[in-house]
Assembly symmetry: C2
Homo-oligomer: 564 residues x 2
């Protein structure tokens, strides 16, 4: 395409709304524009990249034997009521009514739809295994849409659902998707790590996320410094530290006026955070639950929710509920005498001696408290692993990085097929629920993640596999007929070779054209200038600073080599 005919919308300034590089560059390169908070329009250049990613996803899904499907985005409430998620999904689900006041939602995900399809269309084990996928627009009303398409409210997702007759079948289907995902992210030039993930909320037995390291990622990912182990912090087991065994002392009630936070307590008692145990109070689907962890630890809410048997909504209890449970102002909660439905105690607390907790009385703490002697509770791993703890696989030290999830694969088992009565007839003539898996890739988020990993101070550096165009041909002076003739020749010849090529025939200075080409991130640049007098042009790769002066007829092989 010739750029004089294109809608080119590059910006020199960084738009104020953008905080991270991919967001800035997607706006500056004119790939997309904001329509509303977390809702974007894709401009021609951006859409080309998106379509390239989709094509890679499609090819690898097809190679893995999955079949493409397209479900509606607008879904009737009845389906979600069957699975129980109509109520479970909170404000994140966009809901609407039709002209007859029927309830609908905009699908945030499609487990229900595909379970419904399976129960209607698959009668017999002979039709299994089956994996269906779609590339489709999803809707989630994020509380805080941010970082462009990294956390948006309308986004494109590839979601796939597998149906098997038994667990071995599911394992196979899951492995095929795992393999396809590795290929997809590789082909997109994206360094995405497969990490163990929690399978709590959706339910199911096994789950892995494909994570891209990113400072603005929403997840903490645990990596072993020695072995391959990698896991979402939600999932990674912590190892309780052990205090040296000490003689148990008598409980002492200490007056601690206005001393509430751990920092204030450390100062007041002149000791370290390790000598305190925090008692945090949660509302878990209406039940009041207290969770105890050492003063310097963070509660892992996923672990807590799982321990409670799959809580749907876990949030800090209201001030009112805290006061009710402790009989004291906020800041003085402790295990002794607390009135809660359940008391969860992190394993580590049972290895501590003579620690300090709140007294459940405003202005007082208790010291020399001991688990077992002074209170009981359900022991378990309720805290986040921390930097420097040990790998659960090999015992080496772990590190923690922020990450963004670009893919998720998940063994659902029978969670949906049982609640929605989705059954098939097995070899023995018996009716059995489908064993299901689900598999998602955030297509728009993948695009942004590629930019996060492939950019420099001048703009995007697209991997060839997803670049909107492979080559940009730049005549330095469009008023120079000889230059234009050579540029046109190269442009036309490359087009005839099925190379995706643009020619920047705009009436702009060469510097402007170079800047735009770099910003947009075209992998190869061919500059046609005065050197054509000697039959020469310039060839430059976006990811290198070298400019090669080559003979005109050499350029076609140069391009071909890069594409191969």
């Amino acid at each position: 395409m010739k750029m004089s005919n294109m809608l080119v919308s590059t910006l020199r300034e960084v738009p104020a709304e953008a905080e991270i590089e991919s967001h800035k560059l997607m706006l500056r390169a004119g790939l997309m524009r904001k329509m509303a908070a977390g809702i974007y329009n894709y401009m021609p250049l951006g859409l080309k990249v998106l379509r390239n990613i989709e094509q890679i996803v499609k090819e690898e899904m097809d190679n893995a034997g999955a079949q493409e499907f397209l479900a509606s985005a607008m879904l009737p409430a009845e389906l979600w009521q069957e699975s129980g998620r109509w109520d479970a999904y909170g404000a994140e689900m966009f809901r609407l009514k039709d002209r007859n006041s029927r309830d609908f939602c905009l699908g945030p995900t499609h487990e229900e739809v595909f379970t419904d399809i399976a129960r209607n269309e698959i009668k017999s084990y002979k039709q299994l295994p089956l994996t269906l996928y779609q590339i489709q627009t999803k809707y989630r009303d994020e509380r805080r849409p941010r970082f462009g398409v990294m956390r948006s409210r309308e986004f494109i997702m590839k979601d796939a659902y597998s149906f098997d007759k038994d667990q071995e079948g599911l394992d196979l289907s899951y492995d095929k998707m795992h393999e396809a995902y590795v290929k997809i992210f590789n082909r997109c030039g994206l360094d995405a790590k497969c990490v163990e993930a929690d399978s709590g909320a959706i339910g199911g037995s096994n789950s892995a996320e494909f994570m891209v390291k990113s400072e603005v990622g929403e997840d903490d990912v645990v990596f072993c410094t020695a072995c391959d182990y990698a896991a979402n912090i939600e999932k990674a087991p912590s190892t309780p530290e052990k205090e040296q065994v000490t003689e148990l002392k008598e409980i002492e009630k200490v007056e601690t006026p206005n001393v509430r936070t751990i920092d204030e307590l450390i100062k007041f008692f002149n000791t370290t955070a390790k000598k305190f145990v925090k008692t945090l109070i949660y509302n878990a689907d209406g039940k009041i639950v207290a969770v105890m962890v050492r003063g310097d630890r963070e509660v892992n809410e996923t672990k807590v929710a799982n321990a409670l048997g799959g809580v749907i909504e876990l949030e800090m209890a209201s001030a009112e509920d805290v006061v009710k449970a402790t009989g004291a102002a906020i800041g003085f909660a402790g295990p002794i005498g607390i009135k809660v439905d359940e008391l969860l105690v992190d394993n580590e607390v049972s290895n501590m001696y003579n620690f300090i907790v709140g007294a459940n009385e405003t202005g007082y703490h208790l010291s020399n408290v001991n688990y077992g002697r002074d209170f009981d509770g359900k022991l378990g791993d309720y805290r986040n692993i921390t930097e420097g703890e040990i790998c659960p696989h090999c015992g080496a030290k772990i590190t923690i990085s922020r990450g963004t999830e670009v893919g998720h694969i998940f063994k659902l088992g029978t969670k949906y097929s049982e609640s929605m009565n989705a059954n098939f007839i097995d070899e023995k003539g018996e009716s059995k629920p489908f064993i299901m898996g689900c598999y998602g890739i955030g297509v728009t988020r993948t695009m942004a993640s590629i930019i996060e990993q492939h950019h420099d101070e001048n703009g995007i550096v697209w991997p060839i596999s997803v670049a909107p165009y492979h080559v940009s041909v730049i005549p330095v002076n469009i008023k120079d007929e000889a230059q234009m003739k050579v540029a046109e020749e190269i442009y036309n010849k490359l087009k005839s070779m099925h190379v995706e090529v643009i020619m920047d025939d705009r009436n702009e200075r060469a510097g402007v054209k170079f800047k735009d080409s770099d910003l947009i991130g075209i992998p190869m640049r061919i500059t046609v200038g005065k050197k054509i007098a000697e039959g020469q042009i310039e060839f430059k790769l976006r990811n290198s600073s070298d400019i090669e002066v080559i003979n005109i007829d050499e350029v076609y092989n140069k391009v071909k080599n890069q594409l191969d």
Copy 2:
């Protein structure tokens, strides 16, 4: 693909919900399934057809120089408030609120969005002309979703918007789209006629529809029996009949107890419908308007709305309003003494003499009424043309057929650019509104229309250009190793030739496989049976009843010839 791995969902029975052939066949061939009223899921086979149609649309749009874009489906109310359509669009628009109670709709069309894009991104006449298109899901809450995807609530549309600096530019952009549409429908094997259409409601100067003849179509289309003239009945001008001039008689008030309808009046007065003039009362955006047409004519509401200067909502007045306007019960409306904001009189009425009208008094009519002498009103063409009237171009007789709109091209002019302040700087440095056009193709409806035109009693007969697969290879007996070997060879060789081929390796009788292949509508069928002993197979085209027995190695050229 091998059918043993495919989700094949053919049905022998016709589902009760389907009334028309395309709907029946899309369900029976397993192309789609209903999710909710007017909302469908596309199964793998149906999606392949849809993607083929989309690809044709895309190629022709690209060839016409249009650039692909992708706007969000969820649109903020503010944009629609700017154009005035937030209120104008009635119950047909799906509306919803986000978690912060902001108003959104699901886009039924995208004029506002693209006008917004243009005003933000196009600064100068140098960037014009520009045509952007998208293939995207649209939402319209139809009062009566019907006929499968022919009238659905969630559907796929290609919509394009052109931006020009002047009228000549628009004419050119419009003509390019016209040409592209002709190519698209031709390539899809669809016989779609371009007919003149009304441009009233959306506003603008010129408009044409691409219509497919269909008994269940929503529009009446007027065709000339002699020349090329074709128009939507909304648009086709009628020719007033002329009564022989007669002496005007004195008005007579006739007691007509309980005689209200034209049929009752004909009986009562013992004359023909041509001696009566109907007075119909409308509510036009709150104004009360009476329209008079001859007793045997139908009011053309589009013409009425246009005569009133672009009414947004025109509907029959409420009983209460009729009583208020006429001072009589319903059925006795007439022009004399009626209290309305406007009285529209069809041209033909001014050519009639001594006709009968309601008396605006319950139980009475007036005879010997004459336009001009007894009442006045705004003369114009307010009625539908009827079968047998004359062509406005050549004077030959016209016929009327039902039709379905598959495409619509439209010169919008400055309707949106003016209301939304979308301007560019012209050659003289002056700010001017964009001259716009808009262009739509119903992609899902095109799919159904192709089936309406290409089916027989056994199922769909896809044109090769859009068929989900080109060839179906059917081994008669999958337990016969020799047959399977030949079938596999043919299947693999065709695949290597990039032919879209399926092999029906299911453990079913050959009859079942033939039936499915015909129902799904695969253009070519290769049957591998006992004749392989003589090195022969059967080759059959879906659109012919001939079965050719050919040598195995001849089959590749056969297929190739069909694809060329």
